[in-house]
C-alpha cells in the first residue's frame, strides 16, 4: 500500500513537566513519533497516566501549564494547525469542551465555519442526528447538565465535527456510551474518514474498539512508544506489555477467567526506571533491560517494537 502524504507528522516528541518550584523538569513523553493520514485512523493506547492526552494536546499547542515540548517536531499540511478548524478535539472530560452556561445547540453552531452558518439550523439538526440523537431539537435546547454523560459525549463529537476539521483528535469519545450507540459512532467516524478524507487520532483503552475500526495502532507505556504498526499487529503482538493488555481484557464468555491486571503499576512522573520503562513489571525482563533503553526496531509492514527481548532482527538478518 502506498500511503498518501500525512496531514500531520509528529517526530521524536519529548514533552517535559516542571512542577511549580521544582528544580528540574521531568519527562512526560519521550521519543514518540507518528503520522496521521487523510482517511485513516490511528489509535493511541496505553495505561492510565502514560501520556496519551498530553501527546494529543501537544498537536494543537494545548499543553497544560508547566508542560512544554522540549524537542521534536510537529509538521502539518498548510493551514491545518493555524486555522484552529483544521484540527478538532473531543476532550476526555466533557467539562473541558462544553460550556455550562450556554445551550448545546448554540455551542455547536459557533463551531461551524461561516459557510455553514447560513443554514445553521439544518446543519445543527443533521449533526445531532448523525451522532445518534432521536430528539435533536431537545438536545440543542438543553444546557450541558441536562444531558446524560453519553449525550454530552455525543454533543462534543457533534461540536468537533461542526468545524469540518481535517484532523479529529478524539480522546476516549465513547466511554459513556452503550455498545450500540458506540458502534453507530464508530461507523460514522469510518464514513467521515472515507468520504471526507478525515484523519482521526483515537485515544481509547478499549481494544475491542481499536480492533474494530482503527487502521494503525500506537501503544504507549510510561511516556514512550513501545509498539506500533498496522492494527492487525494485535493478533501477533511482540511487546510483553501489549500481550499483557490483551490478556487483561475482560471477556464475556460464561467460563471467562477472573479479571487480572498486569502486576505492578505505571511509575509516577519523575520515577520512571532506567532502561526499558516496563522492565520492573515484565515477565521476560533480563538484566540488560534495566540499563539500556530499547530502541524501536522495524519489522514487516511498518510493525515496530521497542523491546530488548522481542526486538525484530536487524535488517541484514530479516526477511524470512
Amino acid at each position: 500500500m502506498t500511503a498518501p502524504a500525512p496531514v500531520l507528522s509528529a517526530r521524536d516528541l519529548r514533552i517535559v513537566y516542571r512542577a511549580p518550584g521544582a528544580a528540574a523538569p521531568v519527562p512526560v513523553v519521550e521519543d514518540v513519533s507518528f503520522d496521521l493520514h487523510p482517511g485513516r485512523m490511528l489509535a493511541l493506547v496505553g495505561e492510565s497516566g502514560c501520556g496519551k492526552s498530553v501527546t494529543a494536546a501537544a498537536l494543537g499547542g494545548l499543553l497544560p501549564r508547566g508542560m512544554e515540548l522540549a524537542s521534536g517536531r510537529i509538521d502539518a499540511a498548510p493551514g491545518v494547525l493555524r486555522a484552529g478548524r483544521g484540527l478538532a478535539y473531543v476532550f476526555q472530560d466533557p467539562g473541558e469542551c462544553l460550556d455550562p452556561v450556554f445551550r448545546v445547540g448554540r455551542q455547536i453552531v459557533e463551531a461551524m465555519p461561516p459557510a455553514d452558518r447560513r443554514h445553521s439550523a439544518d446543519r445543527l439538526r443533521a449533526l445531532l442526528v448523525q451522532v445518534g440523537f432521536h430528539d435533536p431539537d431537545r438536545v440543542a435546547r438543553s444546557y450541558p447538565h441536562q444531558l446524560s454523560g453519553g449525550m454530552q459525549q455525543r454533543a462534543m463529537l457533534a461540536m468537533a465535527l461542526a468545524g469540518r476539521p481535517r484532523i479529529l483528535v478524539a480522546d476516549e469519545p465513547t466511554t459513556a456510551l452503550d455498545v450500540t450507540v458506540q458502534a453507530r459512532l464508530l461507523r460514522l467516524l469510518a464514513d467521515l474518514q472515507r468520504s471526507g478524507n478525515l484523519a482521526v487520532l483515537l485515544i481509547t483503552h478499549n481494544l475491542g474498539v481499536v480492533a474494530e475500526v482503527a487502521d494503525d495502532l500506537l501503544v504507549m507505556y510510561a511516556g514512550r512508544a513501545v509498539e506500533s504498526g498496522p492494527v492487525s499487529l494485535l493478533s501477533s503482538p511482540r511487546h510483553p506489555y501489549v500481550e499483557g493488555l490483551l490478556r487483561a481484557l475482560p471477556r464475556l464468555a460464561p467460563d471467562a477467567p477472573p479479571l487480572e491486571g498486569i502486576p505492578g503499576q505505571v511509575p509516577a512522573l519523575g520515577r520512571r526506571p532506567a532502561g526499558c520503562p516496563f522492565h520492573p513489571r515484565c515477565p521476560l525482563a533480563r538484566p540488560g533491560c534495566a540499563t539500556a533503553v530499547p530502541h524501536p526496531t522495524r519489522g514487516p509492514a511498518g510493525h515496530t517494537v521497542a523491546c530488548h527481548v522481542r526486538a525484530f532482527p536487524s535488517p541484514s538478518e530479516s526477511t524470512p
Partner: protein, 273 residues
C-alpha cells in the same frame, strides 16, 4: 461463581421510582417507574442505552433528586425520599455515590490528598489532620496512585487518575452501600482489573453492597450478581446476571450483547487472508 447470599436481607427496595425533570413548561421523563430489590452484600449492575435514565435513577435512589423523583426507595425499610433530616444524615454516612463525571465532582481547588483527608475527617474515619493525611495517601495507593499524586489538583491529573481519586473519595468514607456510576470507564484494562478486584474484595470482606452502572458487559459478567437493563427510562429486563447475559429474553438485551466489540473476531473479520 458463588454469589453472595441470594437470601440475605433486602437492603434497598425501589418501588415504582420515577424521575421527571421539569423546566420552562417542558417535561423530561427520565425514569418511568423502576422497581427492584437489592439484597445486602450483592452487586447490582445497571446497563442500558445512553440517556436511558441510569444516572437519574441512581441519584433518585440516594435522595439527590428531591424535586424530580417520586415512588418509594426503602433503605433498611425507611423511605429515602421522605426521610427526616436526622435519618437522612445517617443515610448519607452509609450510602455514597461515585459520580460519572470526576472533573465535575472533584473540587478544582483542592489537592487530591486534601480532598480525601477532608472526607476522612468529616466521616469521622480520622481524628487528626495528620492521621487523615496518612490515611489519604494509603487510599491513593490502594487505587494505584503513589504519594506523588497527593499534592496534585484535579486538572493536573490524567483522566483515569482523576477517576481513581474520585472513587477513593467515596470508598474512604467507610460507606456500606455504594452506587458507582461508570467508575472505571476511563481506565485501561489493566488498571481497571485492579480497581474492579478491589471493589470485589470490599464486597466480600466488608460486606459492601454495590450498584454498578456501566456499559461494559464483560465487566458486568465479572462483577454483577444481578443485572438490570434499561431502555428509555424503563427496566426492560432484570435477573441474575448470568441469566440476563447468557439467556437474554428482551430484544434490546440481545442487541446489546451482539454489539460487544471483540478483538479476535474483529481482527479475523477485517484481516482474514
Amino acid at each position: 461463581m458463588t454469589a453472595p447470599a441470594a437470601d440475605s436481607p433486602v437492603l434497598l427496595r425501589a418501588e415504582d421510582v420515577r424521575v421527571v425533570y421539569r423546566r420552562a413548561g417542558r417535561r423530561t421523563e427520565a425514569v418511568k417507574g423502576v422497581t427492584f430489590d437489592l439484597r445486602e452484600g450483592r452487586c447490582l449492575g445497571i446497563v442500558g442505552e445512553s440517556g436511558s435514565g441510569k444516572s437519574s435513577l441512581a441519584r433518585a435512589l440516594l435522595g439527590l433528586e428531591p424535586d424530580a423523583a417520586t415512588g418509594r426507595v426503602l433503605f433498611r425499610g425507611r423511605d429515602v425520599l421522605t426521610m427526616d433530616r436526622d435519618a437522612r444524615a445517617a443515610f448519607r454516612r452509609e450510602a455514597q455515590m461515585v459520580f460519572q463525571d470526576p472533573l465535575g465532582s472533584l473540587n478544582p481547588r483542592m489537592r487530591a490528598g486534601d480532598a480525601l483527608a477532608e472526607v476522612l475527617l468529616v466521616h469521622g474515619r480520622a481524628r487528626t489532620r495528620r492521621e487523615a493525611a496518612e490515611q489519604a495517601s494509603e487510599w491513593l495507593s490502594v487505587v494505584g496512585l503513589d504519594a506523588d499524586y497527593a499534592p496534585r489538583y484535579p486538572h493536573e491529573l490524567s483522566g483515569g487518575q482523576r477517576q481513581r481519586v474520585n472513587l477513593a473519595r467515596s470508598l474512604c468514607t467507610g460507606a456500606t452501600f455504594l452506587i458507582a456510576d461508570e467508575p472505571v470507564s476511563a481506565l485501561d484494562v489493566s488498571v481497571q482489573a485492579r480497581i474492579l478486584n478491589l471493589m470485589k474484595d470490599l464486597q466480600r470482606t466488608r460486606g459492601i453492597t454495590w450498584i454498578l452502572i456501566g456499559h461494559d458487559l464483560a465487566v458486568m459478567r465479572a462483577m454483577a450478581d444481578d443485572l438490570l437493563v434499561m431502555q428509555s427510562g424503563g427496566c426492560v429486563e432484570s435477573g441474575p446476571a448470568s441469566a440476563v447475559l447468557f439467556a437474554p429474553r428482551h430484544p434490546y438485551t440481545r442487541t446489546l450483547l451482539s454489539s460487544v466489540p471483540d478483538v479476535p473476531s474483529s481482527l479475523s473479520r477485517r484481516f482474514a487472508t
